[in-house]
């Protein structure tokens, strides 16, 4: 039916759906720019989940209690699940997962720069939960109202799990700051390293973010970078106080007039360096992803060959 409508009508219908805060679904007509923007957004998000497994997986085998080990392992597993889910959402837009993986490996698509920092102590696991997941949630909660249906629905599930992770991270830090001096030092040290990169997770300041206006018009982005960043600082500063850690920003203070926390200037030069591939772990993260993908090529080929032979029906049934 829709295929026969003239382009103009299709576009009008699309804009109508967006205006009324309804959802665009995979089989609906959408402008090329919308589709491309969304594929990029969803793919970057999927890549971020997958690359984001690495800094945390780094501590699974060394987690100092079995309970924390289980929590961390489950969290990293959730991230793999989110990645799968998001690649599927991208596929509803006509993207191909293999192709997206190649783009990631060849640095033709980005992932969140936060994962280009190393995890140096077990406290980093807690701080990532608290700050990085916290920032991710600020970013993502509004995306539960993304105009693109599959992404919006994915975000509902993902946000639920992320806020669970965030609470677990914070709880680990609470336990650690109530522990030994060495533990408290670890938490402070990790906070010092992750604070500024977390603020950078919201992207460049609004006056340097040229695509924001179109994305907001399409309702695939619902708030500006600076709005979300402020929301994150306002949420986090009191949590830091409750933990007894100091955020490494001498300019951070409550501004009663604004009703917000003021905070210091972000080092945008560092942000640009890391985004453009020159962070402490960019090369390492991509090399690890590439190695896994290349080492697994023969396995994927075998699975495909087997499926072709057996019409995708497994030959072995469990004896019961």
């Amino acid at each position: 039916m829709t295929a026969t409508l003239p382009e103009q009508d299709l576009e009008r219908h699309f804009e109508h759906v967006i205006e009324r805060d309804q959802r665009i679904e995979p089989r609906d007509w959408m402008p090329d720019g919308y589709r491309k923007t969304l594929i990029r957004q969803v793919a970057q998000h999927a890549h971020s989940e997958i690359i984001g497994m690495q800094p945390e997986a780094n501590w699974i085998t060394r987690a100092p209690s079995l309970r924390r080990k289980a929590i961390l392992l489950a969290k990293v597993q959730d991230e793999a699940g989110h990645g799968l889910y998001l690649y599927s959402a991208a596929e509803t837009l006509g993207a191909d997962r293999t192709d997206l993986t190649e783009k990631l490996i060849e640095s033709r698509q980005k992932y969140s720069s936060i994962f280009n920092y190393p995890t140096l102590t077990f406290a980093d696991v807690g701080v990532i939960g608290w700050l990085v997941d916290g920032a991710a949630i600020c970013n993502q909660v509004p995306l539960c109202r993304s105009s693109y249906g599959p992404y919006a629905r994915g975000m509902v599930r993902i946000c639920k799990e992320e806020s669970f992770h965030q609470r677990q991270g914070y709880e680990l830090l609470m336990t650690m700051t109530r522990g030994t001096d060495a533990q408290r030092r670890m938490v402070q040290n990790a906070t010092d390293r992750w604070w500024w990169p977390s603020l950078m997770m919201f992207g460049p300041p609004d006056d340097a973010s040229p695509n924001t206006a179109q994305s907001m018009a399409w309702k695939v982005k619902r708030h500006t970078n600076d709005e979300l960043r402020q929301r994150f600082v306002d949420m986090t500063a009191p949590q830091a106080e409750a933990l007894g850690v100091t955020l490494p920003d001498p300019d951070l203070r409550w501004n009663a007039e604004r009703g917000h926390f003021d905070f210091g200037e972000i080092d945008w030069a560092e942000f640009k360096r890391v985004v453009s591939g020159h962070g402490p772990c960019n090369a390492q993260r991509l090399a690890q992803r590439r190695r896994a993908h290349e080492d697994g090529a023969w396995v994927r080929e075998a699975a495909a060959a087997h499926a072709a032979k057996h019409h995708s029906r497994d030959h072995w049934r469990s004896p019961t």
């Binding site: 699974i60 990293v76 597993q77 994927r300 497994d314 072995w316």
Partner: protein, 253 residues
């Protein structure tokens, strides 16, 4: 009490150490589906380890909790079979180890779910459901790789050859196991061999693979994993696993 405790450590250490080797695969698997599945198996085994170590620490009256047992025992106090500690190889070795380990463990837990010890029986019953999935997962991959490409078939056969020398140890009865078997608390490991052989024969046949001819890895002076005598791989594994906990012996996490 002491036999029961020792037995809980045996099965708990099998799960903990095998889980560690699976954890090390994290972010290196060939597909995201495998990331999810292998992490899931590692989590299940970790859960089994926690229940069993906790039970062990209660049974011997030492009051040692799961973390005390996991992080502050020396290598010679670890009771796991040596198959669990084997250094990771390629994906075919992972699949081979997993199909052997979970076929054996499922046979074991099935019988253990009828143990006279109510805690062991409950832990085993829960484990049966989990390990049934592990075995199916590993068996499906054994078939895919064995009956996939020529290349994958060769690698799968080679992977089986790597793990096969560790098989007999799974069915060698330790005196603790014999006493618990006599008391109706635990199965005699040697009684699991038939089921293991049958299941493996079915899987290998579906996978168009042959049973490896490899000789069996002996112990040292007749002593092996169940006696706390491990391979040279074990020390490195524990050094990694215990490093943070031991750096902060006074800490709680």
């Amino acid at each position: 009490g002491d036999d029961l405790a020792a037995y809980c450590l045996m099965l708990g250490d099998d799960a903990l150490v095998m889980s560690h080797r699976l954890q090390q695969w994290c972010t290196s698997l060939p597909e995201l589906e495998e990331e999810v599945a292998v992490a899931n198996i590692a989590l299940d085994l970790l859960g089994q380890a926690r229940l069993l170590l906790t039970r062990g620490g209660t049974a011997d009256g030492s009051g040692r909790g799961e973390d005390r047992l996991a992080f502050f025992r020396e290598e010679h106090e670890y009771r796991n079979v040596r198959l669990a500690e084997l250094v990771n190889g390629d994906f075919a070795e992972l699949v081979a180890r997993l199909v052997v380990f979970s076929t054996w463990r499922l046979a074991l837990l099935s019988r253990l779910s009828e143990s006279r010890d109510p805690v062991l029986s409950a832990v085993a019953a829960k484990g049966v459901k989990e390990v049934t999935y592990h075995r199916d997962y590993a068996a499906r991959w054994t078939v895919r790789l064995g009956d996939g490409t020529d290349h994958s078939r060769g690698r799968m056969q080679a992977g089986l050859a790597v793990v096969w020398p560790y098989v007999d140890e799974l069915f060698a009865a330790h005196e603790v196991e014999l006493r618990l078997s006599a008391a109706g608390v635990a199965p005699d490991p040697s009684a699991l061999r038939d089921e293991f052989d049958n299941v493996l024969a079915q899987v290998l046949s579906a996978a168009t693979l042959s049973k490896p001819e490899a000789g069996q890895l002996p112990g040292v002076g007749g002593r092996a994993g169940r006696d706390g005598v491990h391979t040279e791989a074990m020390g490195y594994l524990l050094a990694e696993m215990q490093s943070v906990a031991r750096a902060h012996p006074e800490a709680t996490w």
